[in-house]
């Protein structure tokens, strides 16, 4: 692992945010990551349906409870897993023998 000054600074400032803002930030960052993977998949014309569960809908609430938030993140983690797996499986056909 490596320590990064800019990242540390970023985290320190993140810590100053109110809890709700932190949740929004986490949500945003995960969305970025999913979007990134989906974009990479789109580049390779990998046509797959993204995993979905309605727990994500709770993220629409302005004051999402801690419990709902954790549940939504749980779903996000699996969306990420599936998206990455989907991407990797296609790439692996080229990279792995």
């Amino acid at each position: 692992m490596i320590e990064n000054k800019e990242f540390n600074e970023y985290v320190e400032l993140f810590k100053k945010l109110p809890l709700q803002a932190k949740k929004e930030k986490v949500n945003e960052e995960i969305k970025k990551l999913i979007a990134f993977i989906e974009k990479a998949k789109a580049d390779l014309k990998i046509d797959s349906k993204m995993l979905y569960n309605r727990e994500l809908l709770d993220l629409n609430n302005d004051n999402i409870s801690d419990e709902d938030f954790v549940e939504a993140i749980f779903v996000y983690v699996y969306i990420l897993q599936e998206s990455m797996g989907n991407y990797f499986n296609t790439v692996a056909k080229v990279l792995y023998k």
Binding site: N4, K5, E6, F7, E9, Y10, E12, L13, F14, K16, L17, P18, A21, K25, E28, K31, K32, L33, I34, A35, F36, E38, K39, A40, A42, D43, L44, K45, D47, K49, M50, Y52, N53, R54, E55, L56, L57, L59, N60, V75, T90, K93, V94
Partner: protein
């Protein structure tokens, strides 16, 4: 619903839209990217608006024969564009041409000179990675030299055609690859050339942006706030938008670490290496390479070589005003960095789960009535006696032994046949002994054409009837009979019957009075949303409704008279009803949509974020100086600080680098063939993806 269109489908749609002339609005809006300048080529859209320089663009072009080939466009300063050449996909040599925008070197140089002219003569420029310093002219030379490595050359030859028209023959020479590629762009008649861009060198806009990020600006003028320079340790966002010269004093570059220690705020008199921006370490890991100790080129100025670290030099108080580095440029140059900024912000949108209205299309039939009506007004009509009727009335009033009136000037005669040999002593009423006025009708004498006289003295004999009797008796038409009347009491003489009666009596009298409806001015109009029965219009400032169909629902025929809601009668003079079918939509409910998208943001948005950078710098400084002050910051301010820190971190992040790679390059052709997929570029991947949850219950998860 996901709209994963195949290329064929996109092309089909594109073609259709072209035919419908919607090409620009719809496809570009969705970012399909098969577009001409004004849409996306291979850079984010707002880059198109970032330059007011002549440029050529090599991007994807749509054409029937080779839909996935490239095309070369010329775009002038006013964003007029012209497709110069389509490049078929199977032209292997030419397809090695780089994608991107190439701006005129001449224009760019002028723009750069213009921008730098706003700086004071004290300003020096530093390559922040190497520490080399440059004068203004040297900086321009250095930048131009750097970017020229990635140039294409637009060469124009001029000639006269057989038809005696002047033409320009354009050739693009690309030296960016391993081999020089010459591409004939074609001949363009001068008088029909839509876009007139000059020939010469054109350099990659992307390379310009990259080159600009290598330099920082140092301004010696504002010594009194030198310590602020320490904020540049990383928090240091600054006021890029604040391009007013008077306000530039507070700008700081975070790429120049002027502090003696990480996180420490240097004191005003801290020794800082002279003249040169005291680059000890850059956030990007650059080595300290003070220009003073370097070997400056001829036109590089070894600024501050007379000062050393530890001295109370002027440079201790210098404000480092970063203008030419990643994300930190003054307003005028900021626009040149749009591509880079946009990539930074590229992924900020991410996923959105939204309620979307579900709409249903239906056909709506609407009737429109075109009408003309006239108000009918009651008018009195008089029917007057004809001349014959006047004569007949006077004759019927001449009755033996009844009075009759004579006007002055009428001549009376001694005998009724005075004009046929009878005695003819005469007199005139109103003159002499017989005044005008009423006299008694003594006798009626009718002279036949033969001269024979038939007369009557019988009381109450009516001339009208008597004349009729004589006419029948003698079988002589009335018109051939001569009638004379003898007036007496006092005795006067014989007069023609036409002379009997006053002037008033001889005037035609009103025979009959009738009330008629007269049409007034026509009222015409169109009634949208015609209800099938009534029309409403305005008459004399009042709203009037009339029914224009009969009891069977049929339109009233021409000339029909109907009574309006104002009680007035109207005559229908024209009615036409047209029924139109229109497509309409109606909301039938809502659905949840989960969308993800990658797209560029508006330049203004990027600028807006940067506008608060100065504030962020100050806030960050305050925060680090005293964390308790954080409590006084608003959530919005903290958010900006976080955003700022995020951007700084992103500049070192592998993930960000991956994003840049993903959005700035295309799939390696070798891998492409392995995967059996078509080449993709940013434009392809910018297609929004949307997953619509039409039935949440089927998507899993807890039912609610």
């Amino acid at each position: 619903m996901s709209e994963n269109l195949t290329k064929e489908e996109i092309l089909k749609k594109l073609k259709k839209l072209r035919e419908e002339n919607k090409y620009n609005s719809e496809l570009f809006g969705k970012g399909y990217g098969f577009s001409e300048p004004g849409g996306m080529i291979s850079y984010p859209e707002s880059l198109e608006t970032a330059y007011d320089l002549d440029k050529i663009i090599i991007g994807y072009g749509y054409h029937e024969e080779e839909p996935f080939g490239r095309a070369v466009f010329a775009v002038d300063k006013n964003y007029n564009y012209q497709r110069l050449r389509n490049i078929p996909g199977d032209d292997l040599e030419v397809t090695k041409l780089p994608y991107g925008e190439f701006v005129s070197v001449k224009d760019f140089k002028e723009a750069l000179e213009r921008e730098l002219s706003y700086d004071s003569s004290d300003t020096i420029y530093v390559a922040w990675k190497t520490g080399k310093t440059f004068s203004k002219n040297a900086l321009i030379k250095d930048i131009i030299k750097t970017v020229l490595a990635s140039s294409v050359y637009l060469k124009a030859n001029y000639g006269i055609s057989k038809q005696n028209t002047f033409f320009e023959e354009l050739t693009m020479i690309d030296t960016t690859g391993e081999k020089t590629i010459k591409t004939d762009l074609g001949r363009f008649p001068i008088d029909r050339k839509k876009v007139k861009i000059g020939d010469g060198k054109y350099v990659s806009a992307f390379e310009i942006e990259k080159a600009l990020t290598n330099y920082v600006k140092m301004d010696k003028r504002k010594r009194d706030i030198g310590s602020i320079g320490t904020i540049s340790q990383g928090i240091g966002e600054f006021d890029e938008l604040d391009h007013d010269d008077d306000k530039r004093k507070g700008k700081i570059g975070d790429g120049i670490t002027t502090t003696p220690g990480d996180g420490e705020v240097p004191k005003k008199n801290d020794p800082i290496k002279g003249g040169v921006p005291p680059i000890t370490t850059s956030p990007h890991g650059g080595e300290n390479n003070p220009t003073g100790g370097g070997n400056p080129q001829n036109d590089e100025e070894p600024i501050g070589t007379d000062t050393k670290r530890g001295e109370d030099s002027q440079t201790q108080d210098e404000v480092y005003d970063v203008i030419l580095r990643k994300g930190r440029v003054p307003h005028r140059l900021l626009k040149l960095l749009s591509s880079l900024l946009l990539i930074i912000f590229l992924l900020l949108s991410g996923l959105d789960i939204t309620d979307e209205k579900v709409q249903e299309k239906y056909t709506e039939f609407k009737k429109t009535a075109s009408y003309s009506v006239s108000e009918l007004e009651e008018v009195e009509r008089y029917i007057m006696e004809s001349d014959d009727e006047v004569v007949k009335r006077i004759m019927s009033d001449i009755i033996v032994d009844h009075p009759a009136y004579v006007e002055p000037g009428v001549t009376y005669h001694e005998s009724s046949d005075y004009d046929r040999g009878g005695k003819n002593a005469t007199g005139t009423f109103g003159k002499g002994i017989r005044p005008s006025g009423e006299y008694n009708v003594d006798s009626i004498s009718i002279i036949l054409p033969s001269g024979e006289i038939v007369d009557t003295w019988e009381t109450d004999t009516n001339l009208d009837k008597y004349l009729e009797t004589v006419s029948k008796t003698y079988n002589i038409p009335v018109e051939e009979l001569t009638v004379r009347i003898h007036l007496g009491s006092p005795v006067a003489g014989w007069v023609d019957f036409e002379d009997i009666g006053s002037k008033e009596e001889k005037e035609p009298k009103v025979k009959q009075t009738k009330i008629e409806l007269e049409e007034q001015e026509k009222i015409s109009g169109i009634q949208n949303d015609f209800d099938g029965e009534t029309i409403t219009f305005e008459n004399d400032g009042k709203e009037v409704t009339i029914k224009i169909v009969d009891e069977n629902g049929n339109l009233l025929p021409y000339g029909s008279v109907v009574t309006g809601s104002d009680g007035v009668q109207y005559k229908v003079t024209n009615l036409t009803v047209v029924e139109l079918a229109t497509e309409a939509t109606k909301d039938v409910g809502t659905k949840k949509s989960l969308k993800w998208s990658i797209h560029n943001i508006e330049l203004e948005e990027a600028l807006g974020a940067l506008a608060l950078a100065g504030l962020i710098a100050a806030l960050g400084y305050a925060l680090r100086k005293n964390e308790t002050e954080m409590a006084t910051l608003s959530e919005e301010e903290i958010n900006y600080l976080v955003k700022s820190a995020e951007r700084r971190y992103a500049s070192t992040s592998e993930f960000s680098e991956a994003v840049e790679t993903l959005t700035g390059r295309k799939i390696n052709p070798d891998i492409e063939s392995e995967l059996g997929i078509a080449a993709q570029t940013l434009k392809d991947s910018l297609i929004d993806h949307e997953i619509t949850i039409e039935n949440v219950g089927d998507m899993g998860g807890q039912k609610r």
